[in-house]
C-alpha cells in the first residue's frame, strides 16, 4: 500500500538526532493522550462524542514537523492529534474535553471543536468537509499578503466525497494558493468502507481534476510522511500552488468511542493494530538504525504519561464556566451590544 515516490529526497536523514526523536515524541504524546481520553470517556468524565486518532499519529507528526508556528492547519472531527502536533497545550485541550473554563474554547466547543488560533490551528470541525474552504481562505491570506506561510487541510476519505473538496481544490489551483490537502485515508468513513463510498481507488488521483500533483504515501510510515511533506511544503512556499497528498492509514479504534463496529472484523482490526502500528514501526526502525536507545523510548512514554496525567489533573481541578458565560463570545466586543 502506498506509492514509493522516487522524486522525494530522504529529508529525514538530514534531521538531527533530536529531530528524529521529536517525531516519535509527538506520536507518543498523541497516543498517550488519546488512550487516556478513551478511558476518561468510558468513565464518563468526558461528555459528548469523542473520535480518536489512535493508529494515525504518523500523519500529524510527520507533516507538522515541517511546519512553522505561523503556518495554518484546518482539522476534522478527529482533531486531537492535529492540535497536539501543531503545538496546542495538552492541559487546555483536556480542559476543553471536560467542558471546563480554561479549555481552549472556554467549554463551548468540546472534542469536536478544539482550536488554538495562537498556533495556527484553525479548528476541528463537526461538519465533515467543512475545513477545505477555510484552508483555501488561509492560503489566500498568505497569497495576498505575499508571505511564505502555508495552509494544511486535513480531511478523511469520507470527506473527499463532499462538494467542498471539489470547489476548494479548484479554487486553490486557479490561484496557485499554498495549500496542502492531506487526505487521511483510514479506509473507513464511519461504517462505510472507502472502497464502497469513494469511486476511485487512490484518492490522490482526484488531483487530476485540478491540474495539480497528487501523491499517495504510506501514512503509517512517519519517515515517508515526513520526507514527502518536507518537499511538498517547500514547493508550496515557493508559490507553485496546491498539492494533494493521500496518506494511507487505518483507524484502529471505533469511529467514535462506543462504536459497535459491526462493519468490519475483529481480525482485520487486530492485524492492523499489530502489524501496521505507526509507533511500533517507527520505533523498530529507529532502533534498527541505532537512531535511538531503548531507554530513551521508555523515557518518552514516561514523560508523555506524566504530561497526560498532569493535564487530567488540570482539567479535573479547573472550574466549569459560569452558566451565564453561555451568552458571551458570539460577537466581537466592538459589537457585543448586538447580541
Amino acid at each position: 500500500m502506498g506509492v514509493r515516490i522516487k522524486e522525494f529526497p530522504n529529508a529525514f536523514l538530514e534531521l538531527t538526532s533530536q529531530g528524529k526523536k521529536e517525531l516519535l515524541r509527538t506520536m507518543i504524546r498523541i497516543r498517550s493522550f488519546e488512550t487516556r481520553v478513551e478511558e476518561l470517556f468510558l468513565a464518563k468524565r468526558i461528555p459528548g462524542f469523542v473520535h480518536l486518532y489512535i493508529g494515525e499519529e504518523a500523519i500529524a507528526a510527520g507533516i507538522m514537523a515541517n511546519l512553522r508556528k505561523n503556518d495554518w492547519i484546518t482539522s476534522t472531527h478527529r482533531g486531537h492529534g492535529h492540535a497536539l502536533a501543531k503545538g496546542a497545550q495538552m492541559t487546555r485541550m483536556m480542559a476543553e474535553l471536560y467542558g471546563k473554563r480554561s479549555g481552549y474554547c472556554k467549554g463551548k466547543g468540546g472534542s469536536m471543536h478544539i482550536a488554538d488560533f495562537s498556533v495556527g490551528m484553525l479548528g476541528a470541525n463537526g461538519v465533515v468537509g467543512g475545513g477545505f474552504t477555510i484552508a483555501v481562505g488561509a492560503g489566500m491570506t498568505a497569497w495576498m499578503k505575499k508571505t511564505d506561510q502555508v495552509a494544511i487541510c486535513f480531511f478523511g476519505d469520507g470527506a473527499s466525497n463532499r462538494g467542498t473538496f471539489h470547489e476548494a481544490l479548484n479554487m486553490a489551483a486557479i490561484w496557485k494558493l499554498p495549500v496542502l490537502f492531506i487526505n487521511e485515508n483510514n479506509l473507513y468513513a464511519s461504517t462505510t468502507p472507502a472502497s464502497y463510498g469513494v469511486a476511485v481507488s487512490r484518492i490522490s488521483d482526484r488531483a487530476a481534476g485540478y491540474g495539480i500533483d497528487g501523491y499517495t504515501v504510506d501514512g503509517n510510515n512517519v519517515v515517508e510522511v515526513y520526507n514527502v511533506s518536507h518537499t511538498l511544503i517547500d514547493r508550496l512556499r515557493s508559490g507553485k500552488g496546491p498539492i494533494l497528498l493521500e496518506c494511507r492509514t487505518y483507524r484502529v479504534k471505533g469511529h467514535y468511542v462506543g462504536d459497535p463496529e459491526k462493519y468490519r472484523t475483529r481480525e482485520e482490526v487486530k492485524n492492523q493494530a499489530e502489524e501496521n502500528d505507526p509507533i511500533k514501526r517507527y520505533t523498530s526502525y529507529l532502533l534498527e538504525h541505532s537512531f535511538i536507545q531503548p531507554e530513551e523510548i521508555d523515557l518518552l512514554w514516561k514523560e508523555a504519561k506524566e504530561e497526560v496525567e498532569a493535564a487530567v489533573r488540570y482539567a479535573e481541578e479547573d472550574p466549569y464556566p459560569e452558566p451565564d458565560e453561555a451568552i458571551q463570545d458570539l460577537f466581537s466586543s466592538d459589537q457585543e451590544v448586538l447580541v
Binding site: 468540546g110 463537526g126 461504517t191 462505510t192 464556566p321 459560569e322 451568552i327
Partner: protein, 327 residues
C-alpha cells in the same frame, strides 16, 4: 396496543410502507451496515435488499438525487444523519425541491421524505444539536413534521411517505429510545393536524417534539398550584394547525409557544405572529415564546443547561402570562 420505542415505531412505519409500495426506498449515510446511529434502520437492509442504500458523505447529492428519483417514479426517503446537515443540501431543498412543482406549473409531484434527527443531545455541541425547522419556515413548498411520541412518529412517517409532496420529518434524537403505546392496527396520522394533549382552561401551550413532554411536566407542577394549561401538540410545524390553537386561545386567553430551537427567528415567531393576528381580541397577555437562547448550542454541561429551554422556563412563562410572577 403495543409498547415500543420511537425508533422502532419509525422502523415499523418504514417496513409497512416499503412492503406496501415497492417504489419506496431509503438512502443515507451509515444506515445499512450498522442500522443507523439511533438504531432506526435496524434490520431494514436485510428485509429489503437493494432498497436501503448507504451513501457517500454527499448530502447535496443525497437530497438532489432524491428529487431526481421522485420526479421519475420512485418515492425516496433520504436520511440526513443529523438535521444540522440540512445546511449542506439547503439549495436542493429550498431552490429545487420546494420550487420544482410550482415553477414547472405542476407537471410532477415530488413524493419524497427527508428524515432529520434533530435536537439537543448533551455534549453534542454547536453542529450536532440544532433544531432547524426555523431555517425552513420561510420556504413555500415544504411540509415540516415533528412527532412527539412513538405513536405519532409511526403515523406521521407513514403519512409523510404516502404524501405526494416533500416532507421534512424531524425526529428528536432523545426521543428514539423512549417507549410508548402504538396501535396494533394500521393507522395514519394526518399531516397538518394538531392534537390536544391535555385540556386546561388557563393557558394554551402550543408546542411540538420533545417539548411536549416538558410542557406536560410543567403542567403537573402548575396544576398543583391551581393552574390548568392546555397543551397542543402541533405535529406538523408547517403548515401548522392554527385553528386548533386559536380555538384553545379563545378559551384560555393566554398563549405560550414552546420549542427547543433558538427563539429568534424560530418557528415560534411565525406561530406567535399568526396567533396574535387571529386571536387578538381574545388575548389577555402577550404571547411568550420559550426556546433556546440566541446563541449556538454550547458543549459544557452548565452552559448547555443555561441556554436550553427547561420545564422551569415553561412554568415561568405560564405564570408571566397569568401575571403571577413571583419576583
Amino acid at each position: 396496543m403495543s409498547i415500543i420505542s420511537f425508533s422502532e415505531a419509525t422502523l415499523q412505519a418504514m417496513i409497512e410502507e416499503m412492503e406496501r409500495d415497492s417504489t419506496v426506498f431509503v438512502m443515507g449515510e451509515d444506515i445499512a451496515r450498522q442500522g443507523g446511529i439511533f438504531g432506526q434502520f435496524k434490520g431494514l437492509p436485510d428485509r429489503f435488499p437493494g432498497r436501503v442504500l448507504d451513501t457517500p458523505i454527499s448530502e447535496t447529492a443525497i437530497i438532489g438525487s432524491a428529487l431526481g428519483a421522485a420526479l421519475t417514479g420512485l418515492r425516496p426517503v433520504a436520511d440526513m444523519h443529523f438535521a444540522d446537515f440540512i445546511s449542506v443540501a439547503y439549495d436542493e431543498l429550498v431552490n429545487q425541491i420546494a420550487k420544482n412543482r410550482y415553477m414547472f406549473g405542476g407537471q410532477a409531484d415530488i413524493p419524497l421524505v427527508v428524515r432529520a434527527p434533530d435536537g439537543i443531545v448533551p455534549g453534542a455541541a454547536a453542529q450536532h444539536s440544532q433544531s432547524v425547522e426555523g431555517w425552513l419556515m420561510n420556504i413555500p413548498g415544504l411540509i415540516l413534521v415533528s412527532p412527539s411520541s412513538p405513536a405519532t412518529a409511526k403515523g406521521l412517517l407513514k403519512s409523510a411517505i404516502r404524501s405526494n409532496n416533500p416532507v421534512i420529518f424531524f425526529e428528536h434524537k432523545l426521543l428514539y429510545p423512549q417507549k410508548g403505546e402504538v396501535p396494533d392496527k394500521e393507522y395514519l396520522t394526518p399531516l397538518g393536524k394538531a392534537e390536544v394533549r391535555r385540556a386546561g382552561k388557563d393557558v394554551t401551550i402550543a408546542t411540538y417534539s420533545i417539548m411536549v413532554q416538558k410542557a406536560l411536566e410543567a403542567a403537573q407542577t402548575l396544576s398543583r398550584e391551581g393552574i390548568e394549561v392546555e397543551i397542543i401538540d402541533l405535529l406538523t410545524i408547517k403548515p401548522f394547525d392554527l385553528e386548533t390553537i386559536v380555538t384553545s386561545v379563545r378559551k384560555t386567553h393566554r398563549c405560550i409557544v414552546a420549542h427547543e430551537g433558538v427563539v429568534h427567528g424560530g418557528a415560534g415567531a411565525e406561530i406567535a405572529a399568526q396567533i396574535q393576528q387571529e386571536a387578538f381580541f381574545h388575548l389577555d397577555a402577550p404571547i411568550l415564546r420559550v426556546g433556546t437562547k440566541n446563541v449556538p448550542i454550547p458543549f459544557s454541561p452548565p452552559l448547555l443547561e443555561y441556554v436550553a429551554p427547561k420545564v422551569a422556563d415553561i412554568e415561568k412563562a405560564v405564570k408571566q402570562v397569568l401575571y403571577r410572577e413571583e419576583n
